[in-house]
Subunit: 359 residues, 3 copies
């Protein structure tokens, strides 16, 4: 088994060993970002973006060009045939003829899995609604490992909207394979749902950032969204207590890494940008070597033979009922066939959007 | 005479011999899609798209990249200077300085001819309103020839909206040079207008698909548009009788080719996708080698010397009156000079939109 | 000092000697537009366009491809993270990781300077609101020099909206380093503001084009915008007297150059396009070699060592107050630090938008 031709929809599609291999190749890419220009010469990447993006799309396109490949695509679903009512499955089967690999961003949860199911080319998920964003997670892991040498032994604080933030959920799934301590810093309304806790590794929870900060090695900040709060006053109060500024940082370790998937609004003060603990712009930059590694590995230009693949622990599968999540691709695209992991007699998990439900 | 530097606005701009040469070069391109990467190195294609497109734009861009060339352009007229009121003629004269060849899609009939008239670079029409879409026709011909060996002797059924569909009209003009039998399957309201019948080769007409299907070698399906019907009930009845599904296909030949220019809505059931007679995704894929051939021939990277060009049967031309078609570029762009074939003392045909009218 | 890695925000960022060097390199680029394809191989240009553009964006992209480089970017701020509220500073710091050089068009005056201040890669201003458009000016200078051999001794007429037109203002700043005579042809409402007069070189002013035309070597036309006039009748009267048509041109020199930054609406009649004095399409075309020169010089692929840089005549700088121009980036982006040239005890000039004001 190798990474060649494999889709990456959720971070668990790669085994821990495969994740480590991607990060190792990314380090190599970072070294030779200038002289590796022919590795993907003649290959074409399609970026199919149905939602706005700067970072993700441009870093994929930059990575492809740095490797000598070409890029086609669209930046906005309204300029594609989706505006004429084309289904996602048809779109995927068309684009597979034009490109060697497809990077998809789409507002519907599970849409990336659906596209991959209908497409003979590998699909990389660049964000499917509130579901996953696995290449952000690989970039996050790379940033920590690159800066601190290793993840093992670190104390990582996740701060902000831990309930809805897809980057945090993906990161937690990946962190369960490392020896880290995790503290979740969020108001009760936005605390981490239990189902996202790493298996066998309970996280700590707190609503206050100040006492938690002193012991952290990594502070991973996400944006708190106003629309999550019924009461505007409550939002203002909560938001104010999570603004990272130089005063707050006086209590932190000198080698703390402050991370953020960006874009930020005002949850990190501009004055922090000058602080050497600010890692978020470097984090965005590391997206290029990580995505170079992904592209080169998936297209077979760099070796990945002999790695242990992800565990397939003998799941039983069901093809009914349709997923109850109204935002799931399995409901939005009527022709799609339900695909459910049978967890036990009554529990199912949708293979598109990962929702667990009772039949 | 050769194809170098020539515009392709309507399918008749190429002689039958030239069409056959494009198809032969496309077959060659299909073989060496991976190793021909330098044929157009250093050349630039501009894709000027004023309407949504996935298939056409991305297949042109893919074709250009597969040949080692570069692409510039826009996907949406709103991001170009047309938003500031620039005329099509000025736009064409600007882009000719930036690119070696222009592929244009525009909502106005005859706009591609107008652009070509003002531009020293070749213009390829990627769809000008309801007028023509000649590269789709070349792709259609290639699909049939590639799959069946030859078009000669085949019985081709055209089904759906034969009145307004530009892909059907272009295809019929090309088919008059082949020894084929054509059956037009459509409700009376959407039957083929007489003026699109191939010269000297009357088509057969029927409203019922089921009896016609058994003898067909090719079934070319197009979408029936709801907005053509005054009565919604009539639309539903008509539409229902042309949905291609596995039950209907039981009566067809086993080697039938089911084609569709796509995007489809629901005129072909998803269950048909698994049927080996379904040719529409392959048809979309063949757009790449066909467009590679067109680009390489038009830019002179592949030889096309010595072919018989299109017939110029001594037309007389007039430069008045202005075309009466309100959707024609000759009316929409005021500065444009009328250009009319003099058919007889009172009949004229507009060179932009092909409308025939009586003065 | 060299041009390597330097931003170009306003035309004065280059010394007269540096401008001459860019023009000389452009002439060289024009010669070898076909065989210089590897000069920027492996380098990436980002085009960040927050406003519609055909000419500027496509000519930059064409220039980059002609030199063998790659392009990433967006054509419309709505498809970028700006739609999520990202600041311009954050956007600039992200894109610097993905590209070697950034070309920015943005509706806010001074936005290009702001982006350059936050970004380790060079930024080239492709138009920042009503402020400047320096690469248009370089193209204008190149067009005159290329066609007439030299600018010295020429009589240049500027016609149209001289009050608000940024291309005219930039051009005048550049012309002060040449031995030219300038006549400003405009209705009083749209005459050139005194602050844009070249230092030490008073311009002549007139409202009538006909008497002025006979002596001109260059007629530089810009569009008169209806929305500048409170009275529609006044607009119609004024506009009509500045329409360049064959009748008017009978009084001009046979070697007159008629220029226009385009797009035009109707200020130059289409009949003039056939006149050999019409230089505006050639002017648009010269944008490619000029921008090739700029890209190659800024990225260090062509030598620019040893030129005299722009004068730094010992300005004192202040960092308060905030610029009073409501359309200035320094006001629109709250985190930005005011930066003001101290002209005298009470006069300041904003380094973002160039507004002079009294404190």
């Amino acid at each position: 088994m190798s990474l060649v031709g494999r889709s990456l929809i959720r971070i668990d599609d790669y085994s821990p060993e495969e994740v480590r291999h991607v990060l190792a190749v990314a380090a190599d890419m970072e070294q030779r970002i200038r002289d590796s220009a022919d590795l993907l010469a003649g290959r074409i990447l399609a970026t199919a973006f149905f939602e706005p993006s700067t970072r993700t799309r441009l870093s994929f396109e930059s990575a492809m060009h740095r490797l000598g490949g070409a890029v086609i695509g669209f930046q906005d679903g309204q300029t594609s045939s989706a505006a004429k009512g084309e289904t996602l499955a048809d779109m995927a089967r068309i684009i597979e003829s034009y490109a060697d690999l497809i990077v998809l961003r789409h507002p519907v949860e599970g849409s990336a899995r659906l596209a991959a199911n209908y497409c003979r080319r590998p699909v990389i998920n660049a964000g499917d609604g509130g579901h996953q964003h696995p290449t952000q997670t690989l970039t996050d892991l790379y940033t920590i490992q690159r800066t601190r040498g290793s993840l093992d032994g670190l104390h990582i604080g996740l701060c902000g909207d831990l309930r809805f933030g897809r980057t945090v959920h993906s990161l937690l799934r990946a962190l369960q394979h490392y020896d880290v301590r995790v503290t979740c810093i969020a108001p009760p309304l936005l605390q981490l749902p239990e189902r996202y806790e790493p298996a066998g590794r309970p996280v700590e929870r707190t609503a206050e950032i100040e006492p938690a900060l002193a012991d952290l090695d990594v502070l991973y900040v996400t944006r708190i969204q106003r629309e999550r709060f019924a009461d505007a006053g409550e939002y203002e109060a909560v938001r104010g207590s999570y603004i990272i500024d130089p005063g707050l940082l006086q209590r932190s370790k000198p080698e703390l890494l402050i991370m953020h998937p960006l874009p930020r609004v005002d949850e990190i003060a501009y004055a922090v940008d000058e602080d050497r603990r600010a890692a978020y712009f470097g984090q965005a930059a590391y997206g290029v070597p990580v995505r170079m590694a992904l592209l080169a590995l998936t297209l077979g230009a760099v070796d990945s033979e002999g790695l242990a693949g992800p565990e397939r622990n003998g799941h039983e599968w069901a093809t009914e009922p349709r997923c109850p999540n109204p935002d799931c691709a399995n409901r939005r695209e009527e022709y799609s066939v339900p695909r459910l992991w049978v967890i036990d007699q009554t529990r199912r998990r949708c293979d598109y959007c990962d929702l667990e439900f009772t039949t």
